[in-house]
């Protein structure tokens, strides 16, 4: 009989409580790893990688609202911005590129953004990555050329089952019940390859199409031809980066000047977006604490399982001692059981955590367009195994010491 066989036999003898302990550890560890994975992937998406926009030139109002609207297709823009002001900013030497856009329309629950076509030709949504219609990459068709043409983000096309040549009438607003531009039939001519960013969850029409949509009135129609009257919702800015990737220090002056003006502000996502994480941060803190508590309870449960099992096994362990097993062997058996269950529970928990991420990522992708990877290796995947194993070993210590100190004769009940 090998040590391993004796160990497995002992575990099998109290398999019901063992399974419960394993489930508890799996749940706790799963919750912990999933929460940490979501947190770290969110941080990566929102802060480390971003989505290619150094700054948003927007109207006065809540910077957070502007960021949510311009980047994540949420909320509404708090106002409009004069084209002439945009032109002035665009000419600033610190501005490498500026892409104007107009938000405020929708179709089937997805935002319809009017945007300059350079968004698709020169804009990098991540370092070195541009939008593509390449069939191999998952895209189809081409960029819009005419007024009545549109391009769909990958997630929109997937959700609505869109094909090239399909048409739609944009809704003037982003709420249900808002009026529809009944006479403006727009045809999808392209579907973007997936980017794993919120850009996948919008429909794009040419900037000028917005001004010519029927029903916007004469003042908006005039904006199509007269730049002096033209208004936009905002513009994505690419700014001058110095060596090492940091933004040029002069950007702070530019931001100050724009913010001081009565009509615009410069919203830097890397400054504003962390506030979103701060606002929703309590959710993952609570979930993390719940995960820790569940794991601690699971470890306490493991302790109870081991103590109870020891009571049932006293006679067997005493008999093993009688057959020549030494104190260290029975100590090792109990400790090995604790460590084995902790390791198996943790490994199952990590797998469960990744399954939770996989499940959650689907819903996050549907809601925000951001792709969370279930195979993302978070810091929890690294620290959780040694930590829980150590905690399991601590839980096994008292029963193991009891087994170590156990009297052979008293437990065999063979004294005369």
């Amino acid at each position: 009989m090998s040590f391993g066989r004796i160990l497995l036999h002992n575990i099998r003898r109290h398999r019901f409580s063992t399974i419960l302990a394993l489930i508890s550890i799996t749940l706790g560890v799963g919750l912990l790893t999933a929460v940490v994975s979501f947190r770290e992937q969110s941080h990566r998406h929102f802060i480390t990688e971003g989505i290619g926009v150094d700054a948003i030139l927007g109207p006065k109002g809540s910077p957070l609202q502007i960021a949510l609207n311009a980047l994540y297709n949420l909320e509404e823009m708090p106002g409009k911005l004069k084209w002439s002001y945009y032109e002035n900013v665009r000419k600033d030497p610190l501005v490498v590129d500026a892409i104007p856009f107009v938000t405020g329309h929708s179709y089937a629950g997805f935002r319809v953004n009017a945007i300059d076509d350079r968004f698709f030709t020169s804009f990098e949504y991540q370092s070195g990555k541009r939008f593509s219609f390449n069939l191999e990459a998952g895209g189809q068709g081409r960029l819009f050329k005419a007024r009545e043409e549109a391009v769909a983000g990958w997630a929109v096309a997937k959700a609505l089952g869109l094909h090239l040549g399909d048409t739609f009438n944009p809704v003037c607003g982003v709420h249900s019940g808002d009026p529809v531009h009944m006479h403006d039939r727009i045809t999808f001519v392209g579907i973007l390859a997936p980017t794993g960013t919120p850009y996948d969850r919008a429909i794009y029409i040419p900037l000028k199409t917005f001004y010519t949509l029927e029903g916007h009135g004469a003042s908006v129609a005039a904006m199509a031809t007269d730049p002096n009257q033209r208004e936009i919702s905002g513009a994505y800015l690419k700014l001058w980066h110095i060596r090492g990737g940091a933004m040029h220090p002069g950007v702070q002056n530019l931001k100050y000047e724009i913010d001081q003006s009565p009509e615009a502000q410069l919203v830097v996502p890397s400054e504003v977006v962390p506030r979103i994480l701060d606002i929703i941060g309590w959710v993952d803190k609570v979930l993390f604490i719940v995960g820790i508590l569940v794991t601690l309870l699971a470890i306490m449960f493991l302790f109870v399982v081991l103590i109870t099992a020891l009571r049932e096994q006293r006679r067997e362990l005493a008999m093993m001692r009688m057959l020549g097993a030494n104190r260290r062997t029975v100590f090792g058996l109990i400790m090995s059981e604790a460590v084995f269950l902790s390791v198996v529970g943790t490994i199952l928990g990590i797998a469960f955590g990744h399954s939770l991420v996989s499940l959650g990522s689907h819903y996050i992708a549907v809601e925000t367009g951001m792709q969370f990877a279930s195979n993302f290796v978070s810091s929890a995947d690294i620290w959780v195994l040694p930590s829980i194993t150590l905690m399991g070993a601590v839980a096994g210590l008292i029963p193991a010491v009891q087994a170590y100190r156990m009297s052979i004769l008293r437990n065999l009940n063979i004294t005369e």
Partner: protein
Amino acid sequence: MIEVRDLCLNYSTREETLRVINIPHWSVEKGEQIAIFGPSGSGKSTLLHILAGVLVPSSGRVVVCDEEVSTMSEAQRDRFRARRIGYVFQNFNLLQGYCALDNVLMGMTFCSVKPDRKLARLLLEHVGIGARLRHTPSEMSLGEQQRVAIARALAKKPEVVLADEPTGSLDPRNKAQVVDLLRSMCEEQGSTLILVSHEMDIIGQFEKQVRFSDINRTGEVEVMR
């Protein structure tokens, strides 16, 4: 093979010290088969525990297989027991949940020899359990359980087999069979057998019998025949 000199074992309470064992001198030759008898509580089993290295005497010298058990550390006694002692209990003390074969293998697990499944099977066949190798103790009769216990005790080919009331839980037919089996297997292996019992029909089968009298505790162990 076994030599006991000035062996004392005392149990102390707050009020008094009770001397349980007091054997000035006693020895057993290699391959001998001895039956120890006496009333309950006289210290027969306690002597076996001392010989097995489970209990440490208060004083005196115990030498078993040329090893002085009385001066060994606990770890040394564990190793000594694993290598040299086979033990058969009245209540068998088989490991519940383990099948007959695994129980016998467990008997070899803690000695230095690698557990031998083939030998374990042969032993179980020899004691008449060949058809029930995978049966657990709860699926066997008392007589069968004691046969498995005998196979377990002899599996590592111990030099000394200590049997503590091995027939105490058995019916008369099984008693005779178990004692015959125990004696013949010890003889085959050349193991010394010390059997403790208070059943005179069992004791009568042994050529060498020792009365372990509590009256005689302060003096000598009386050797009959």
